[in-house]
Amino acid sequence: MLLTKEEEESLDGKNGDALASAYRILAAIGEATDAERLVPITWAHVSGVNYNTIGDSGLKFLEKFASEARTVVRTTINPMGFDRSKPERISAEFQQKQAGIVSAYEKMGILPSFTCTPYEVFETPEKGSAVSFAESNAAVFSNSMMGLRTNKESALSALASAVTGKAPLSDLRARGSVVPKTAITADFEFKSELDFGLLGYFAGKVVKDSSVSLVGIPKPSTVEAKALSGGMGTSGSCAMFTIGGDAMEKISFGKKEAQAVEEELNTAEDGDIITLGSPQFGMGELELLSKLVQGKKFTKRCMIFCSRAIHSQATKIGLTGTLERSGAEFMCDSCTCLTPYVTKEEYDSVVANSVKGAYYLNNSNKVKVALKDIKTIAKEYAN
């Protein structure tokens, strides 16, 4: 990859250690993705905020990095471990480590968004704008639904882009118009957003390319596209879908394939509690759920994960009130994936609506999951 004189100098350390590290990362991912050069980006979304995901060495890295580095473009960040206004039951040690991570990011100048759905919270740049998104559901959603251009970045590569304002011009970021090599055809009628999530997870597993064409499904709603993006980002390296369009390689997604994914992730019949989110709930999911449970009570503890921005918007129009009267609890700033709110010491199993959530609850939180769509959860657990 060709660097400008100024970029070379930063790489050589003339502008400090942090920028040298950032350019080392950009040079490495540029080589890995066969980029010709770096291009300016307008937005970075960084993951690696929850203490459960990056641990002590991550905290140490960020503290050192933040002593010099400052963001030069709009930078939003992923959820942290817990709701800042509900620290009860979170250990003092976790709270302290989490505060260290947050303050390092704040020192760098990030927006403390604590959301995995930045596309639902912030003003979207023009179609075709180059961005750098580490959160995988956000990369897939923004590429596919909003016409933004990002590769499936890592926590460190998006951070490098945040402090340099640049990212390699390669793969999805370099695309003119994408013609995916593989098409997946759904040959049954989807009943809920969960089917979109299963398709996403299947696609991520079987498609080795960075994009895929999806055939046989209608253009997904925001709620459905979030489920699809979450599933796809979890299982593979594919970071973009198109709806319709022919391709060289054709793969079928029938009931059998959907069932196989469900069998992998659905590890329990029932759960001790309900966790909703991943991606965090937006206005779409909150509106849907509130209609379904209005005037009813949840029969189990029900945690709804959403961003503080969405929560405050939903509160203004009475949505959070309706759900709280049904007994739901809101957990802002955090999400189901690797949250310390859900531990195997406390729970054997949980009911979850999300394919992505189910994957991490099973594999990282080590609790069993009863995977159900939002409508079914409302039907079975609210009366």
Binding site: S21, A27, I29, S57, E135, S157
Partner: protein
């Protein structure tokens, strides 16, 4: 894998219980979470990093994590089978920014 011990800790993995410390780690490419990049850094911090990584396709997670951890990453030429390198084989990796050699 557990960064503190350097051991692979996935019971479904054929190398479960083996250490990757000081090894030449061979894999096709990485999948999974974007925070995986920190795992390479964490291994280095705990003194359990592999000596080198050989993969079929260097991906963004591996490349960015290894850039910070100082672990050399070598991508095999397209069409080369990873299975040419057997588990346990003495493998030598010579790499700089210009060229790389993998000798089994």
């Amino acid at each position: 894998m557990d960064a503190k011990s350097g051991l692979i800790t996935d019971p479904r993995h054929e190398l479960n219980g083996k250490t990757i410390k000081g090894s030449v780690l061979v894999f096709p490419y990485s999948v999974g979470s974007s925070v995986g990049a920190y795992a390479f850094y964490s291994l280095k911090e705990h003194g359990n990093a592999p000596s080198a990584i050989v993969c079929a396709k260097a991906d963004i997670t591996t490349a960015s994590g290894c850039a910070i951890a100082g672990i050399p990453v070598v991508e095999l030429p397209a069409g080369t089978e990873l299975s040419l390198i057997n588990q346990g084989a003495m493998t030598r990796v010579d790499a700089n920014s210009e060229s790389a050699k993998v000798k089994v």
